[in-house]
């Protein structure tokens, strides 16, 4: 009886697991020029930054390897072509980062306080909360899940394909603000 209850509750936490196998797109697309150019540009920037050498020989090597890599794997970086507002989205994401860093700093102080508190076991109250998110795209849901894990006292347990989230919180205070403000900010960044 007890074992059956446990099984049910775990299925409840991960409701849509194994239902969507949408990973297996095997359709062959032909070579797309714009993703190739954008990937090449990003790779070249990283090459210049990481090598730190600006003479002709090293730049030649870099251009050659960037051509090969972006020829092979530009479809990994942009599976559905380059979105038209890519740069604008990145700039808005950069605007989201200071708020996130502030939250991460508060999270660290909070967990540090809990760790060194002598009566820690009375302060914490771990529990799992579930909610539905209205974020649609993969990137925004990934950003949301990672932001939840980085901010005060919460870890994402399950980020479902259909927008269901399960979050483990360490005490009562941390769970109250979810989804709330963070979801609004992320939906503003990704225009949803």
């Amino acid at each position: 009886m007890n074992a059956a209850n446990k099984k049910a509750s775990i299925d409840d936490i991960r409701p849509d697991h194994n239902k969507n196998n949408s990973f297996h797109h095997t359709n062959k697309k032909q070579f797309a020029l714009i993703p190739f150019v954008v990937t090449f540009f990003i790779m070249a920037c990283f090459w210049l930054l990481f090598s730190g050498k600006f003479d002709g020989f090293h730049i030649f090597l870099g251009i050659g390897s960037c051509l090969i890599v972006s020829g092979i794997s530009s479809r990994l970086l942009f599976p559905r072509g380059v979105p038209p507002l890519l740069l604008k989205t990145w700039l808005k994401f950069a605007g989201y980062l200071p708020w996130l860093f502030n939250q991460i700093f508060l999270a660290n102080l909070h967990v540090l306080y809990l760790t060194f508190h002598p009566r820690m076991m009375e302060l914490i109250n771990p529990k799992i909360i579930k909610f539905n998110s209205r974020l649609k795209s993969d990137v925004s849901r990934t950003t949301f899940a990672n932001s939840i894990t980085l901010t005060p006292g919460t870890i994402t347990i399950h980020a479902g394909v259909m927008g269901k989230f399960a979050v483990h919180c360490i005490d009562d205070k941390s769970g109250q603000s979810l989804p709330g403000q963070m979801e609004n900010k992320i939906s503003k960044v990704f225009d949803e």
Binding site: K6, I13, T156
Partner: protein, 106 residues
């Protein structure tokens, strides 16, 4: 400048130590991941910013490139660390480990 760097390093080490102690003190698997994940990223940010400040001391192109690389370490850890924590928690849930909860009636 050196004083700032030293203060940052000491704070970062406090964060790392807090992470290690938290892993021992918290009651169960899931709540132990809170200090393991968060205090490590926090300590990493603080110590790495101290290293970046220390590297940029003679202010030229080489130093700037090195400190940008140090900052990129932080960026990549910020992407991978939550993902790793999430997959550890997900493995725990898949294996059927129940989260520890406080006993109300005591």
């Amino acid at each position: 400048m050196m004083v700032t760097i030293m203060i940052l390093l000491i704070f970062g080490l406090i964060f790392f130590a807090g992470g290690a102690i938290g892993i021992i003190r918290f009651p169960d698997f899931y709540s132990r991941l809170h200090p393991a994940g968060k205090l490590d990223t926090g300590g990493l940010v603080i110590t790495m910013s101290a290293f970046a400040l220390y590297t940029i001391q003679p202010f030229d192109l080489e130093a700037i490139i090195t400190s940008i690389k140090i900052i990129l370490i932080v960026v990549f850890v910020f992407i991978t660390s939550p993902t790793a924590i999430h997959s550890i928690v997900d493995a725990g849930i898949r294996a059927g480990l129940e989260p520890w909860e406080k006993q109300e009636d005591k």
